[in-house]
């Protein structure tokens, strides 16, 4: 999440123009302009991604890695090119370390079942944190149920900062794997993933990092973090739904048995013996989401062209303004005030339940999320059934938070 890099500080006006890249932002909601503050849930898509999908289906649609004809050649070329773009985005060494999945959830399940499960014995431990999304809790609970292993949870403090000492203490002799989020989808906390990875490695524990809320908000450099596995979703990164990727260190990927069997993942099949493809194709059974991968490639191009360092700087500025505006509002309690924070502001209102807040905001054209954000244990930690969450993308500006604040004043007016 480094903000370092070439300083090409762009003006607020420049970022305002970014809005034109997203056709959906022209929509009016209940007669008001759309203020989209739900990008942590799913991002909107820039025109270049939409055009890429259209062009692929109109010009090059064919199955990959099969036929000899030109369309198949083009589709395969574009699909594999997208893999290279993911590699570049994450700072990985080799495109063969990138497995396309349907998203972060599938990537975590793949690692849980294919890498972690075979090495677990009764009494072994898997370490996660208290701020995980359900998709980084449930796959591990399933593996624990299957093997008799135990799930251990590293605590966080009232600001939403991970207790690193406890994390270190919980890395014990029985710990076999650690899985944690890079950026919390509820608190916005940016975890010290490099330190966490180092600590785990010193204990000979491999780690998976859930990057679903991280990759689109700042430069991720896997070489620097040293992660063994890293997962993210395309649809939160301005790409289509149903596509995501898993980075896995090459040597680990080679050891892993395939997760699902089928076409595409084999070299040869007979009733006596099947020879699997080499990674990553060994883990991509069936016809993949070809258009999705190519669309994701276009989204990565878009993001890299904006420059991730600039994106991080812009979003940090808007986030700071948003935190300021909300903290000045009557009856608003911010949930998640870690010093290292990105892209997400959660809050509770004294006067009204998040559900009522979201309904009133919606009538103002403001799309925010109300609920437990697939993180019920975290909600419990803060003693809340739900929060309202405003989350950022490249196209958000200070004005979006002015509109959000206007909506929240209306909440106070109605419920006051």
């Amino acid at each position: 999440m480094s903000t370092a890099g070439i300083d090409s500080r762009r003006s607020a006006v420049w970022w305002q123009r970014i809005r034109k890249d997203f056709p959906i932002l022209d929509r009016r909601i209940h007669g008001k302009p759309l203020t989209y503050l739900d990008s942590a849930s799913t991002s909107q898509k820039p025109r270049c991604v939409l055009e890429t999908l259209q062009r692929y289906y109109e010009r090059s649609n064919a199955n990959v890695h099969r036929a000899i004809h030109l369309l198949a050649e083009e589709a395969t070329f574009e699909y594999e090119k997208a893999r290279g773009k993911v590699k570049r985005l994450l700072g990985a060494d080799d495109p063969r370390e990138i497995v396309f999945t349907s998203g972060t959830t599938a990537a975590i399940n793949l690692v849980a079942q294919s890498y972690v499960r075979p090495m677990l014995q009764e009494g072994d431990e898997i370490l996660i944190t208290h701020m995980e999304h359900h998709s980084n809790i449930v796959p591990w609970q399933m593996v624990c149920e299957q093997t008799g292993a135990r799930l251990r949870v590293a605590p966080i403090d009232d600001r939403g900062v991970l207790d690193l000492d406890e994390f270190q203490r919980l890395l014990g002799p029985r710990t076999r794997f650690a899985s944690f989020t890079h950026v919390s989808n509820v608190l916005g906390t940016v975890n010290p993933v490099r330190e966490m990875t180092d600590l785990a490695h010193r204990n000979e524990v491999r780690v998976l990092i859930d990057g679903a809320q991280a990759v689109q908000h700042g430069a991720v450099d896997l070489a620097e973090i040293g992660a063994d596995f890293y997962a993210f979703s395309g649809h939160k990164l301005y790409g289509p739904t149903g596509i995501g990727a898993l980075y896995a260190r090459g040597d680990l990927l080679h050891q892993m048995p395939p997760w699902q069997g089928g076409g595409e993942m084999i070299e040869s099949v007979s009733f006596e013996k099947t020879v699997y493809h080499a990674p990553p194709h060994k883990f991509e059974a069936g016809t993949p989401n070809i258009a999705g991968a190519i669309g994701l490639g276009a989204a990565i191009d878009y993001l890299l062209e904006l420059g991730l360092a600039d994106v991080a700087r812009h979003e940090a500025e808007v986030l700071e303004y948003g935190m300021q505006v909300l903290s000045e509002l009557e009856g608003v309690r911010l949930i998640g005030t870690a010093p290292e924070k990105a892209s997400v502001i959660s809050f509770a209102m004294e006067a009204a339940h998040p559900h009522d807040v979201a309904t009133i905001l919606d009538r103002e054209g403001v799309a925010a999320r109300a609920g437990h954000h697939c993180a019920q244990p975290l909600m419990e930690r803060f003693g809340l059934p739900a929060t309202t969450r405003a989350s950022l993308a490249v196209f958000n500006t200070r004005e979006d938070f002015d509109r959000l604040a206007g909506g929240l004043r209306k909440v106070n007016e109605i419920f006051g």
């Binding site: 009204a352 339940h353 998040p354 559900h355 009522d356 309904t359 009133i360 009538r363 109300a370 609920g371 437990h372 019920q376 909600m379 059934p385 739900a386 209306k410 109605i414 419920f415």
Partner: protein, 150 residues
């Protein structure tokens, strides 16, 4: 804002702030829990039945203004009624909040519950309005399982 006031009418805001029949019955005939996993609304409705007649009803838990007010209004509306009358009322209420095309509901029979009518303009909130009613139904059937809106 006028349309928001149709949803958040004074009666609803009042029942949200000061829910009636809030708490647990000392000796319920039965009770049930209702849960909306999407937003975390969670109620327990306990009933005291005398044959077919509902002698008393209370609810506890937490939820949004719509689900809380709906639960509160419901308890007021059903106390002393027979299960058959309550069933008819539930069906009228369901029609009111979903505004099924061509559905007839009797405003006289609904009484105070008509204030919940604004919910039909907010399809995402219908589940909030009906949570207490589903829970009541489960309690009357003496179901012990938590009912969910999903």
């Amino acid at each position: 804002m006028s349309d928001l006031r149709d949803l958040y009418q004074e009666v609803i805001l009042d029942h949200n702030k000061h829910p009636r029949n809030f708490g647990a019955l000392e000796q319920p005939t039965s009770s049930a829990e209702g849960y909306n996993p999407i937003c975390g609304d969670h109620f327990r409705v306990s009933v005291e039945l005398d044959g077919d007649t509902l002698r008393d009803v209370r609810f506890e838990g937490s939820g949004c203004a719509i689900s809380t007010a709906s639960a509160s209004l419901m308890t007021d509306a059903i106390k002393g009624k027979t299960l058959r009358e309550i069933k008819t009322l539930h069906s009228d209420f369901q029609k009111l909040v979903t505004a099924e095309p061509g559905a007839e509901h009797d405003p006289a029979r609904l009484g105070k519950l008509v204030v919940m009518g604004g919910v039909c303009e907010y399809p995402m909130r219908v589940k909030c309005a009906t949570l207490a009613w589903h829970t009541l139904k489960a309690a009357a059937r003496a179901e012990t399982k938590t009912v969910t809106t999903e």
